[in-house]
């Protein structure tokens, strides 16, 4: 019974190609990619309480890794994307390494520094990455058959997003997810009850990086073109906006935030110039007036009984 709503939602999303134009199909694909990113980031920031400003770099690592493995390594996208996601998982562990000791502000600084390093690395090695000119990405092939059909690509993206949401949900409700929550609420108490805090933080970073890397690998084929400016600090903040607006620490929140904020620029068509301003205002407004996100608001309504653990304590007044 609990699976009814997710299955209905999945079926509804799968039926989009029946009536949508290719532009709306593309938008929905972007929304799915953003759901993957938000689901991963929410584990790190929402559950484990760590700040990461380099989520876009993990996405870049996944995107460039996939494209390079396909172009230079000559392997299929279906092998390259998981491989790149795994490499990004390792990269996340490397970035998480300083996070074992640092928290809050200093972690924000380290991840900001890492983001800039990745940008410089991409821009300064044009032989591999195309530098600021970017890279063209070919559509993947499956058993020698090119994925020309829009619908097939769309269904692939939707399937991966569903897998990611399922995985995030299960991680959140596993031993690890509970350890993440414990580390956020009080690292000292977590340590005292026997949770290896340093290792848990490392794992949170690595898992988040794997989600973002996977999203990057898909983004590369959906967009057909990648360049370093798409993976700057603004992109990272956009990812954070997804989870802040949706609801920190909630998988449903990640989905709501990612879908709403992907649809937002479309709803405001004709006011493209305002999009950055609106993003900033939404982020600031949510932080100030809606610290538990839309899911927090929904949970206040008596009719809504989301059977999900959201953040228990109010965002203000936390240690």
């Amino acid at each position: 019974m609990r699976a009814t709503i997710p299955i209905l939602a999945f079926a509804a999303v799968c039926s989009v190609p029946l009536f949508a134009t290719s532009y709306y199909l593309y938008l929905t694909e972007l929304a799915m990619i953003n759901i993957i990113i938000a689901a991963g980031l929410n584990l790190l920031s929402g559950n484990c309480g760590l700040i990461s400003l380099c989520n876009a770099s993990f996405m870049a690592a996944g995107a460039y890794g996939t494209v390079l493995l396909v172009n230079q390594g000559g392997i299929s996208w279906f092998a390259a994307m998981p491989a790149a996601a795994f490499l990004t998982f390792l990269l996340g562990a490397v970035v998480g390494f300083p996070a074992r000791r640092l928290s809050g502000l200093y972690l924000a600084l380290v991840t900001l520094g890492f983001l800039e390093l990745v940008q410089i690395a991409i821009e300064e090695s044009p032989d591999f990455t195309g530098g600021i000119r970017g890279l063209k990405v070919a559509r993947p092939e499956l058993f020698g058959i090119p994925f020309h059909s829009e619908t097939a690509l769309y269904l692939l993206v939707v399937a991966l997003a569903a897998v990611a949401v399922f995985a995030a949900w299960n991680i959140q409700n596993s031993r690890f997810g509970r350890a993440f929550d414990a580390v956020r609420q009080s690292p000292f108490a977590a340590q005292a009850v026997g949770i290896p805090v340093a290792r848990v933080k490392l794992l949170a970073f690595a898992i988040n990086a794997a989600f973002a890397g996977c999203a990057g690998g898909i983004f590369a084929i959906v967009a057909g073109f990648i360049d370093p400016t798409e993976f700057g600090v603004l992109e990272s903040l956009k990812h954070i906006t997804f989870i802040v607006v949706g609801g920190l620490g909630s998988v449903v929140g990640s989905i709501i935030g990612a879908v709403l904020l992907t649809a937002l620029p479309e709803a405001l068509r004709g006011t493209q110039e305002y999009s950055e301003l609106i993003y900033g205002l939404i982020l600031l407004g949510s932080l100030m007036f809606m610290p538990r996100g839309l899911v927090g608001l929904l949970n206040k309504l008596p009719a809504w009984k989301l059977s999900e653990r959201t953040r228990k304590e109010p965002a203000h007044g936390a240690p």
Partner: protein, 355 residues
Amino acid sequence: MILPLPPPWKDLKRVELSRSGLSCRNRLGRYPASSRHCGKIPDKRRLVFRDDNGSAQTPPAVAKMSWQVASQLALSGLSIGSIYALVGLALVLPYKASGVVNFAQGEIVTLGAYAGLILANFGLPYLALVPITLLLAAAAGALIERVVIRRMMGGPEFTLVIGTFAIGIVIKALIRLHWQDNTFTLDAPFIGAPFRLGPLRLNPAYLVFVASMAVIAGALSAFFFYTKFGKAMRATALDAVAARLMGIETGSVFASAWALAAMLGALVGLLLAPVIGINPDMGQLILKGLVAAVIGGFSSLGGAVAGGILLGLLETYAGAFWGATFKNLVPFAVLILILMARPEGLAGTSSARRV
């Protein structure tokens, strides 16, 4: 460094030397989605570099060490380091008072430059518009503290970091809406031809940078040690609750720390505007300020000044001897190394934390 637009790029608003050679942006400030435009841009090594006075320069080659070169580099390192130090001070001040790092400080630098631009358009000379801009900046800083920051203070650090970032996004977006990505110039009396002093070439603008930094660092330390309000600020930085119990109005201390920091930021904007031009990306300077503050341990004003100058020197020498790529890597490498090895800064001491 801004280049005049050659004919094929007329449709682009701006061609600039980014940290890695040339980049081009369209009207919305994005890089073109295709490589169409960028493909036409020649290799960066064949470009004519122009210095601040518009005369052509040979591309900076790898320097050979001599006493003259070393001291010339030390001078430019010191001057750019002074700017970093000022930004570092503007970051450390509110952090000490209210425990919040203002990631929007870079945008306050930009805001200061644009405020100067507006006032200059009213016909005000540079020396008259500086004090007015500083007053406006102080008001803006206090306003940001009052309206946004105070609501978030005491909340989780996540909210504070992302919240100040969001303020920065809003400010930058507002500036972009009105002025787009154009680069504007601002006239200042200290823009002139470099003069010779013995074997060294001195650029008057750089001397002004160093002098402003020295004056401000001196004034700040005098303020904190000799005035009553400065002492109140120090007490609040040590322990806000205890300070309030002693009858210090911590609210006004927070607001004035933010006002002071905004003034410093706006001053940096006004100092840099005549030299590098005014554009919405000036705020990227905040990264250097953050590194300066981290080197100094993020809680000592003297440390931020020393960190800024150290960073300026490191960057200049690295750029001269190992090239531009290395120069761009230096700040972030320093940042990550210090945070991993000595998070309390080079000079700082680690303090006990309450569990």
